[in-house]
């Protein structure tokens, strides 16, 4: 789960990391109060989860009240799903750093990445000038040790006065990373002021989904998702992604669903949505089908090869879903695995044909989508 910038900064501040003076507004009439707090010039920052906000024009400087008002007005009117804007004092800095923490899968250790040239796309820097990024590995049992931070900060080309402030930010960021079970904690840019003080110009923190139960204070609302259907799928614990094409995938298992996704594209079809309801969700055919139908697909393609997610149980669920939802679009089904020998007989009452080969089923669905109209 990704936190919004204002949430990440609140969290960083609570760990002792300096952040700019700011105010969060949810509507235009809160702007004057916010400006009274931050002063001018200020930065108007859309609280959306997409990366590269600067490049996308979603973060802009305002020199006076009129500019601030015009920006905020346009943002609220034009940016989809925008719920809040962060109004922040403009910081006068002399250097921008990058600091980021993530996990290294190969070693099972945390990785702290730092660069003396922050404020830009760090992936771009890692490609074009990898020598500018300094990394250190952190044994999670020992934690981030002072000597490691010390060694790192001397590599960043800092003024002497900035050593201690930057060291303190590194230590605090690591604490936040651990306490929040983060998969990523990032400050880009970390402003270095004339007097050497360090201030977080931006904040990113993604809480690991498997650890969300430990952080009930952060609930995902509809604003975290691309559509109401995506939000509903998440509430059900069903992996679901919209692609805007013709064919709704109602499959089981991430690997198999990705394979069907590829095969549909290979055959020249287009995917309306990715959806997998295997594992603990395999009895939720009704919910899964309803989510698919929300995309108004030309055809629903069901492909499974389950183990614990029994094919016969899934078949019965599909029959019940068809009887309840009466989908207007055709369904192509290919259910294999435990109990597969019973599927044909279970499908019979609703006249659903059972395919036994994935590629044949995909071609059938792509064929229907090529001819069929949306209902």
């Amino acid at each position: 789960m990704k936190l919004f910038e204002y949430q990440a900064k609140e969290l960083f501040a609570s760990h002792g990391i300096p952040v700019p003076n700011s105010a969060l507004i949810h509507s235009l009439d809160q702007l004057d109060g916010a400006l009274a707090q931050t002063g001018l010039p200020c930065v108007i920052k859309c609280q959306v989860l997409q990366g590269g906000r600067g490049k996308a024009g979603l973060v802009k400087m305002a020199r006076n009240k009129q500019e601030a008002r015009r920006l905020a007005e346009d943002y609220f009117a034009q940016v989809p799903r925008l719920k809040a804007i962060l109004v922040e004092e403009a910081v006068d800095y002399r250097q921008e750093l990058y600091l980021g923490l993530s996990m290294d899968a190969k070693s099972g250790q945390a990785i702290l990445m730092a660069s003396g040239e922050g404020g830009v796309d760090i992936e771009e820097v890692s490609r074009s000038a990898p020598e500018k990024i300094h990394t250190l590995s952190i044994d999670l049992l020992k934690g981030l040790q002072p000597f490691q931070i010390n060694d790192l900060v001397y590599s960043l080309g800092l003024e002497k006065a900035a050593f201690r402030p930057v060291s303190a930010v590194c230590a605090s960021l690591y604490q936040a990373f651990c306490r929040m079970d983060a998969e990523l904690a990032e400050i880009n840019p970390l402003f270095i002021l004339k007097d050497g003080q360090a201030v977080a110009g931006d904040g990113k923190l993604n809480i690991d989904d498997n650890s969300a139960f430990r952080h009930p204070e952060y609930r995902q609302g509809p604003e975290h998702f691309d559509s109401p259907t995506a939000y509903e799928a998440a509430q059900e614990g069903i992996p679901y992604i919209e692609f805007g094409g013709d064919i709704s995938l109602m499959c089981a298992g991430a690997g198999l669903t990705n394979t069907v996704f590829d095969l549909v594209n290979f055959e020249g079809g287009t995917v309306a949505n990715y959806l997998e309801y295997g594992g603990p969700n395999y009895t939720k055919a009704g919910v899964a089908m309803r989510l698919c139908l929300a995309n108004n697909p030309k055809v629903i393609l069901i492909v499974t090869f389950g183990t614990i997610a029994r094919a016969d149980v899934m078949a019965a669920g599909i029959v019940q879903a068809i009887q309840e939802l009466k989908p207007a679009c055709p369904i192509v089904a290919c259910l294999r695995g435990t109990g597969e020998e019973r599927v044909e007989e279970i499908f019979a009452p609703v006249g659903l044909k059972q395919y036994t080969d994935t590629e044949t089923a995909v071609r059938k669905a792509v064929g229907i989508a090529a001819q069929g109209d949306r209902t």
Partner: protein
């Protein structure tokens, strides 16, 4: 005949008395696996599937020496169960649960490296040597998928493994050992780490890997081939060839970040190292057949 597990492997089952633990322990026994004892706190004195249950790993090991542990506990208890098995001196551990907190996945991975232990999982069905033994939850009774044979299979995915294994069997082959390394972002063991075992196993003629977008496990396999650590034929099928960048495709680890983790790049590196990469599931059997015929 197989790697990691055979009929001489003495297996402890942690979390045996639960619904999943008891169901799959029964199937492990049916397949000939030597399950010697179970562990569930507060259940010592009971028996499950005909074997005695103990409060703790230490207490179980006093009466029943074991070399492997199968863990059936819920995700948030997995790390403690793994550490308990390691503390007992066990060096082959399989854990199935999907949903282990990320920082605990990392600690499990680091602990396995430090102890020089083989830990497999989480978010997997485990390992199976058809006809010889199983630590996991595979529907071994489905003959068109789980047939004994001479092909090593490694996979990041569950349902897709059934799909691919069925293609291998349809071509007339079977599996020596199938290892599900799992779909987590930090799997406790990685593909390349098993290649030397398959290389040394006289009963394995070739290896199939079932990978996907994201991470770097397929790239590491390519490096192992380049280094000559594995010289038998290797066929790969990789899901997510048409996935868009930046979108998490089901598994938490299945995401293209920046330019790394694409199936196109994985394919290029694998092919450059001499592996055969199937575009479609159906091609896996044919590529395997060709590679082995050429070798013979």
């Amino acid at each position: 005949m197989s790697i990691l597990i055979d009929r001489s492997t003495r297996v402890l089952v942690q979390g045996m008395t639960g619904k999943e633990g008891s169901f799959w322990s029964r199937h492990m026994l049916d397949l000939g696996t030597q399950v010697v004892a179970g562990v569930t706190p507060n259940k010592e004195g009971q028996s499950c599937c005909g074997v005695p249950v103990y409060h703790s790993v230490r207490r179980a090991l006093l009466a029943h020496p074991a070399t492997a542990s199968m863990i059936f506990v819920p995700p948030r208890f997995v790390m403690d169960a793994v550490m308990e098995a390691l503390a007992g001196g066990i060096r082959l551990i399989v854990t199935l649960a999907d949903g282990i907190p990320l920082h605990e996945q990392a600690r499990i991975r680091a602990a396995g490296l430090k102890a020089n232990a083989t830990i497999i999982g989480g978010n997997t069905s485990g390992i199976i040597s058809p006809g010889a033994g199983m630590m996991g939850s595979f529907p071994h009774w489905i003959e068109r998928v789980y047939k004994p044979g001479r092909i090593g299979i490694m996979t990041r995915s569950g349902s897709l493994t059934n799909e691919i294994a069925a293609m291998v069997v349809a071509e007339g082959f079977g599996a020596s050992t199938l290892i599900g390394v799992g779909g987590d972002p930090i799997p406790a063991s990685r593909f390349a780490e098993f290649l030397p075992l398959f290389q040394a196993d006289s009963q394995t003629d070739a290896v199939v890997i079932v990978g996907e977008l994201g991470g770097s496990m397929e790239e590491e396999v390519a490096q192992s081939l380049e280094k000559g650590l594995f010289t038998k034929p290797l066929v790969a099928f990789l899901a997510g060839r048409t996935a868009p960048p930046g979108t998490r495709m089901g598994h938490a680890g299945a995401i293209i970040s920046g330019q790394s983790g694409t199936v196109a790049e994985k394919t290029r590196l694998l092919e450059q190292a001499g592996a055969l990469v199937a575009q479609r599931p159906r091609d896996v059997g044919a590529l395997l057949g060709d590679a082995l015929a050429k070798r013979a």
